[in-house]
């Protein structure tokens, strides 16, 4: 099953093969969960959103078409689910991302790297919503510009510009990881 493409697995599941879905789920459970968690910034809400997203994916499986990359289709469903949630409850302003690297679980990791990752997570959390969404789709989902544009429902140029602004805001942090995230946001 691992040698099959996402699209083949999805079609196999639509035809009734549950093991195909299990393989597909194993591929995307982490990335999709982190994408949602970093968007909603609250583990309990992220759990609800995550389960709801998969529920929508499963229930709308018959609408899936092989021509569309599964990854983009899946992220579009999850993204729309999160957008619906934000319409009801606006996103929290400047909350810290809760799932920072756990040094206790990885004692071999250098402290600087962990701190840099934590600073990045904070900086991403402070990005404007659309830029954050585009960047997370790129970093977590591994989507290209066309797929990001497709998932977010904008033109490729707009998606490109959002991504570029997001990276520009993160650049000071990349040059000086000790710089507080608040300053990065202020410079943008």
């Amino acid at each position: 099953m691992d040698s099959h493409s996402d699209e083949q697995l999805m079609l196999a599941y639509v035809a009734g093969d549950v093991t195909a879905f299990e393989s597909l789920y194993a591929r995307y459970r982490g990335p999709l969960y982190r994408f949602i968690l970093r968007r909603v910034k609250d583990p309990a809400t992220a759990n609800d959103m995550y389960q709801g997203s998969w529920e929508k994916i499963i229930k709308s499986r018959r609408t899936y078409r092989q021509e569309v990359p599964f990854k983009a289709w899946m992220y579009r469903i999850a993204r729309n689910h999160v957008v619906d949630y934000f319409r009801r409850a606006p996103p929290p302003a400047d909350e810290d991302v809760v799932e920072l690297a756990d040094t206790a679980e990885r004692p071999d990791q250098l402290l600087e790297q962990v701190e840099a990752a934590a600073a990045l997570a904070r900086a991403i959390a402070q990005l404007p919503d659309e830029q954050q969404e585009a960047l997370l789709l790129k970093l977590e989902g591994g989507l290209d510009l066309h797929e990001i544009a497709d998932v977010t429902g904008v033109s490729v140029e707009t998606a490109k510009s959002r991504l570029r602004y997001a990276l520009a805001k993160l650049r000071p942090l990349l040059q000086d990881p000790d710089k507080p995230a608040g300053n990065i946001h202020a410079q943008a």
Binding site: G16, Y33, N47, A101, L120, L167
Partner: protein, 204 residues
């Protein structure tokens, strides 16, 4: 110049993405709780089974519907057959019944037409088969239809118009022992040439 700047920005952005990606990969550890995994997988399984059951139910429904249709059709045919008189078979017999009077009427019309044509025969010397009849005395009165039938038969058998040749053929039939054909031919000959003398062998 501007294009060169764009290219530079593209390369710079790519570099930024790869650096951010490297730092980000050190961060990405969060995963969904095992219970959530189980819930999603159970849902996927349930939905798949439900679809499978729905497919089976649809097949059962189609089979049941087909059986009902076949039964209804059979019952309808049986009931229709029960209404028809014994010995006739449903729609076919009623169709035959409808056709029979029409056929009889057509036959009657045909005979009438033939009678109309046959009536002035004695006066028409140009008709081939009727020519020898002119020389003969008038035929005894016969019912019109029977006469027409006979002349029709005579016409059909005696295509040569030569009574001697016809009698020869009849004698050949007698020698061959074909009694049925002999009787038919003889009757037709007598109808066509009532006063023509028959050979001794045929007078019995």
């Amino acid at each position: 110049m501007r294009r060169r700047n764009d290219q530079f920005n593209e390369a710079e952005a790519e570099l930024d993405v790869s650096v951010v990606q490297a730092i980000y990969s050190g961060l990405s550890t969060a995963e969904p709780p095992a219970l959530l995994d189980q819930a999603v997988l159970n849902l996927a399984r349930r939905e798949s089974e439900r679809t499978h059951e729905r497919r089976i139910n649809t097949r059962h429904w189609i089979a049941a519907l087909s059986t009902t249709c076949v039964l209804a059709l059979s019952l309808g045919l049986l009931m229709h057959r029960g209404e028809s008189p014994p010995g006739s078979s449903g729609a076919e017999s009623s169709k035959t019944k409808r056709l029979q009077p029409a056929a009889a009427e057509q036959e009657h019309d045909e005979l009438r037409a033939m009678h109309d044509q046959a009536a002035p025969l004695p006066e028409q010397s140009t008709v081939g088969a009727a020519a020898p009849m002119e020389a003969q005395p008038a035929a005894p009165a016969e019912p019109a239809a029977a006469g027409i039938m006979k002349s029709k038969l005579a016409k059909s058998v005696d295509s040569t118009g030569d009574p001697d040749a016809w009698l020869q053929r009849i004698l050949q039939l007698q020698q061959a022992g074909d009694a049925a054909q002999l009787a038919t031919e003889l009757q037709a000959f007598r109808a066509a040439y009532p006063d023509y003398p028959l050979p001794q062998a045929l007078q019995d």
